[in-house]
């Protein structure tokens, strides 16, 4: 089943043409990895899916992205509801300067989805889903900054899960973490795919191989190759992809 359908997407930052005619169909309940050397536009592609690009001055987008058949760049779309449906986790863990509980509750409060006892239940459920509950259940009122980097990143995942999204975008979520924390997040990503459509940006080829079902290779703003991870890794169709996978550049 197609969940996200990207058609002829072009993005400019000022004069800089960052994405060029990207067309890509992303499957539901699977992990899709977007990989490529730095500066190839992979983060921009990710941020196009929840329209976060437009929070940056001087950004211009053409083309369409359909989620469940609806064009999210259509004028009638409620961008805030869109961002609730499409959760995002950033490169550097970015907990808000609030307590652990308040971080997870933030989105629920913004969207007036729950309060009181129900709020606490949702927070607990999300923290469990992000495999963080056992570590923080006794210190929910402590500052989120008291957590380690890996815990902070899982807190950010819990925060995104709390508002009941359908799609989770992960922008190099492990780049600031040590190997053990990375492994925990990768395991978590596999689990999330059972319920959510997961799209992850990574510049780490091994990570793409470990966590993803499908992989897209982006180079200089163009989509070079896209297909099931196993097929792309074992038998790349494009010479550029092959050179990238063998570590010739990147």
């Amino acid at each position: 089943m197609a969940k996200v359908d990207i058609r002829k997407l072009n993005v400019w930052f000022k004069e800089n043409h960052v994405l060029k005619d990207v067309t890509l169909t992303i499957k539901e309940n699977a992990v899709t990895a977007i990989m490529g050397p730095s500066g190839c536009g992979k983060s921009t592609l990710l941020r196009a899916i929840n329209r976060m690009n437009e929070t940056i001055d001087g950004c211009r987008t053409t083309g369409e992205i359909y989620i469940d058949g609806q064009n999210i760049y259509d004028g009638s779309i409620d961008v805030y509801e869109l961002r609730r449906r499409v959760g995002m986790v950033f490169q550097k863990p970015n907990p808000l300067p609030k307590s652990i509980f308040e971080n997870v509750a933030f989105g629920l409060k913004i969207h007036k989805m729950a309060d009181g006892q129900k709020l606490a239940e949702f927070v607990e459920k999300s923290l469990k889903e992000a495999a963080l509950w056992e570590e923080v259940k006794d210190r929910l009122n402590e500052s989120a900054f008291s957590l380690s980097g890996g815990q902070q990143q899982r807190l950010c995942i819990a925060r995104a899960l709390a508002v009941n999204p359908e799609i989770i975008l992960l922008d190099e979520p492990c780049s600031a973490l040590d190997p053990i924390a990375t492994q925990k997040i990768e395991t978590l990503i596999r689990e999330l795919a059972e319920k959510y459509t997961v799209i992850i940006v990574t510049h780490n080829v091994q990570q793409a191989a470990r966590v993803s079902d499908y992989v897209a290779f982006l180079y200089l703003g163009k989509l070079i190759e896209y297909g099931p991870t196993k097929r792309v890794f074992e038998n790349p169709e494009n010479e550029l992809t092959e050179r990238y996978l063998t570590g010739e550049f990147g």
């Binding site: 409620d78 961008v79 805030y80």
Partner: protein, 277 residues
């Protein structure tokens, strides 16, 4: 679309105060510029005794030059010490706090102090010199803060390059840091001048008199100044506004041009730091 409506309300509510601020500024400027008709160019060089502004303008310039001469070097050296030499300890913290407190001190207090200390204790009397020192006290924090900022913007790699070639710390400061920070330092001095050029309370009882016969012949004579004359003419002498409009306008243009050039230079150099590109 509750989100979009609240967004629009947000824009509207927050935009109004900004517009009010700008409107007030434009209003003040337009009032003062409306008096430009009363200003005749030849009055600028005509003696006060013949109804001109000459001694006030030159007196103000004397005050500013002297105050800059005192506060400029001291401020720059203090900033060099604080950024390049001081260790982050208790003393630095106290100095830092003292600078902030000096910056926030009301000018009337600086004036009171100037009177007891410079005029009486040091025996300078009501004089140009006492005015220099008093105004320098007000300029000092601005010059220190501006210079500190300028020095901090000089990349460490520049200094390391010099130090690695065997230059001493002072040589590095003198030949690398200061030239790179020079535009920022000049900017801070300009802003310091703008701050004190229109200052009245600080020179009220330290440097100025209403009328002098010609220009002061030594730093130990009192001086005339635009701000002082404007103040005294309105408050003490109750002169009609038309007669002081000229002074107000000259003073406004003087201060605003220093401030505008200072602010513009600061923005220019913050953006155009060649090594930040």
């Amino acid at each position: 679309m509750a989100g979009k409506i609240s967004e629009k309300v947000f824009f509207a509510i927050l935009g109004v105060p900004t517009i009010i601020c700008l409107a007030v500024f434009l209003w003040i400027t337009s009032i003062l510029l409306s008096g430009i008709g009363t200003l005749r160019l030849d009055l600028l060089t005509t003696s006060v005794l013949k109804g001109g502004f000459f001694e006030m303008i030159v007196g103000t310039a004397y005050l500013l030059l002297g105050a800059t001469g005192v506060a400029g070097p001291i401020g720059v050296f203090a900033a060099i010490y604080l950024t390049e030499y001081a260790r982050h300890g208790r003393l630095t913290r106290i100095i830092d706090q003292a600078i902030n407190n000096l910056a926030g001190m009301p000018s009337i207090i600086i004036g009171l102090f100037g009177y007891t200390f410079f005029c009486r204790q040091l025996g300078l009397g009501i004089s140009l010199a006492a005015g220099w020192l008093t105004l320098a006290l007000m300029m000092l924090p601005i010059v220190i803060r501006g210079t500190e900022e300028a020095i901090k913007m000089v990349p460490n790699t520049f200094k390391e390059a010099a130090l690695a070639l065997g230059a001493s710390k002072w040589e590095t400061t003198k030949s690398i840091t200061l030239p790179s920070a020079a535009p920022g330092i000049i900017t801070s001095v300009l802003l310091g001048i703008a701050r004190v050029a229109g200052e009245t309370a600080a020179i009220l009882f330290t440097a100025c008199v209403l009328v002098t016969r010609g220009l002061p012949k030594s730093p130990f004579e009192p001086v005339m100044a635009l701000a002082f004359n404007l103040f005294v003419k309105i408050v003490a002498l109750g002169e009609p506004p038309e007669k002081v409009f000229g002074i107000a306008l000259i003073l406004f243009l003087l201060v605003i041009s220093f401030a505008a050039v200072g602010i513009a230079l600061r923005i220019y150099y913050r953006r155009k730091q060649p090594w930040l590109r």
